[in-house]
């Protein structure tokens, strides 16, 4: 049985140790925070100038002055700090975040990621902070479905969509598997979802899937 979205987010959360500074992309990555146990201190960053984001507020406790990069209302935890956009991206670009978790259209076996423009002809794609995060975070993990809705592999030999950054992804979490992206080798299977066979993973991946040595 493949991981569902909740299980995928939980699976990523499992691998985040206490003390890491983490930026979670919009969409499924945001769900990762919900699966960090409260006693494990992980500090969440938001591009718009927050370190120490807490969970979403109760509807009657929303502070209209406090949103995350996805423009949803958030809270602050004790120890949080606020800063402006240039300082926020100095944290990102300067390599101070331990981890960034993003969604993607495609990840290539060499660690390339494409997650901003859906085609070369899309002339007004929204890049946001994706290129800064992919270039700057110490580690980049991708959390995404293994294939597109119509069954096309999203783990590929070479990205067909415009790149967000080259050679930066170190791990991919999908509904079928957890894969390391190893320099000079490619996708190495770290874990298959319960009941998912290596054959199925290989069949749904458009690049070689190696087994750990």
């Amino acid at each position: 049985m493949p991981f569902d979205r909740t299980a995928m987010a939980a699976r990523v959360a499992e691998d985040i140790p206490e003390g890491w500074f983490v930026n979670l992309g919009i969409g499924m990555p945001t769900m990762v925070a919900d699966h960090i146990p409260p006693e494990r201190e992980v500090i969440f960053h938001s591009e718009n100038g927050i370190l120490g984001m807490g969970p979403a507020p109760a509807p009657d406790a929303v502070d209209p002055w406090l949103i995350n990069a996805g423009k949803q209302p958030v809270t602050l935890v004790p120890g949080a700090s606020l800063f402006h956009h240039a300082d926020s991206f100095a944290i990102i670009r300067g390599g101070h975040l331990d981890l960034c978790v993003l969604g993607a259209f495609e990840v290539a076996a060499n660690g390339d990621i494409a997650n901003w423009a859906t085609s070369e002809n899309d002339s007004a794609p929204a890049v946001g902070g994706a290129m800064d995060l992919t270039a700057g975070a110490k580690r980049l993990w991708v959390l995404m479905e293994h294939t597109t809705k119509d069954g096309r592999p999203k783990l590929v030999e070479t990205c067909s969509y415009p790149l967000t950054a080259a050679g930066v992804v170190s791990r991919v979490y999908t509904n079928l598997a957890v894969l390391e992206v190893v320099k000079g080798r490619g996708f190495v299977l770290a874990e298959a979802a319960p009941g998912v066979s290596v054959e199925e993973i290989r069949a749904k991946t458009a690049a070689p899937v190696w087994l750990p040595a």
């Binding site: 002055w65 290129m131 800064d132």
Partner: protein, 226 residues
């Protein structure tokens, strides 16, 4: 006596010329200088280049300014979001120019303009479509692109509290682009929720020193924002 507090919106907007580059603060609805954008719509300047994170939503504010045909070009990181209908229409019709800049590069280019740095190298966008046509140089074994400062003629920003010297504080995530843009324009205009006496903001708590601010207007956002 130095007094940067202006009495009305007309005074706040005085002198903004056609063809200006206008930096507009805010991220999402927070820290967005809504009243100043309305003031600019009223004021009439046209042929503007707007620098902002987004390209407006709905048909008010920045979207309205664009819909009125007053924006020649927009420089932003995230033109397409839910509700960016006006931008989509204009862009498809070839009626607005677009320069997409990664969000961190956008912030850093504006910061550079304010800090007297005309150009800098960054790893962001190297090897991507947004890095094409830019000077590339390797540092520490990685390619970097050269980016140039992005100054404004005018900056429209939103603050929480302001004093008559133009010292500003912000609330919550309301800093975002505002303190950065405040440094980078020839004319920086701030709308503030509160005007406080000189000295009421502790020296440690000032986020934007008055040296960067030319005009301040009080704009009360009403109860939910108080």
């Amino acid at each position: 006596m130095i007094d940067k507090i202006v009495r009305d919106m007309a005074e706040a907007m005085a002198g903004i010329a056609d063809g200006s580059t206008v930096l507009i603060g805010g991220f999402g609805s927070v820290g967005q200088p809504d009243a100043l954008i309305e003031g600019l719509i009223e004021q009439g300047a046209k042929d503007l280049t707007v620098v902002a994170n987004n390209a407006g939503t709905g048909r008010v504010g920045l979207a309205r300014l664009m819909e009125l045909g007053r924006v020649r070009k927009i420089i932003c990181s995230y033109p397409r979001s839910a509700g960016s209908v006006v931008f989509e229409e204009l862009y498809r019709a070839g009626k607005i120019e677009l320069e997409i800049v990664p969000q961190g590069t956008l912030a850093e280019r504006i910061r550079a303009a304010g800090a007297g740095i005309p150009a800098f190298f960054t790893p962001t966008a190297a090897g991507t479509r947004l890095g094409q046509g830019k000077e590339v140089r390797e540092f520490n074994g990685r390619p970097h692109v050269l980016e140039t400062a992005l100054p404004g003629d005018v900056a429209l920003i939103e603050a929480w509290a302001a004093d008559r010297w133009g010292n500003l504080t912000y609330r919550g995530s309301g800093r975002n682009f505002n303190p950065v843009m405040a440094t980078a324009a020839k004319l920086t205009i701030a709308q503030a929720q509160h005007i406080v006496p000189l000295g009421a903001i502790a020296p440690d708590a000032v986020i934007t020193p008055g040296v960067f601010v030319d005009r301040v207007i009080r704009v009360d956002r009403g109860a939910p924002w108080a």
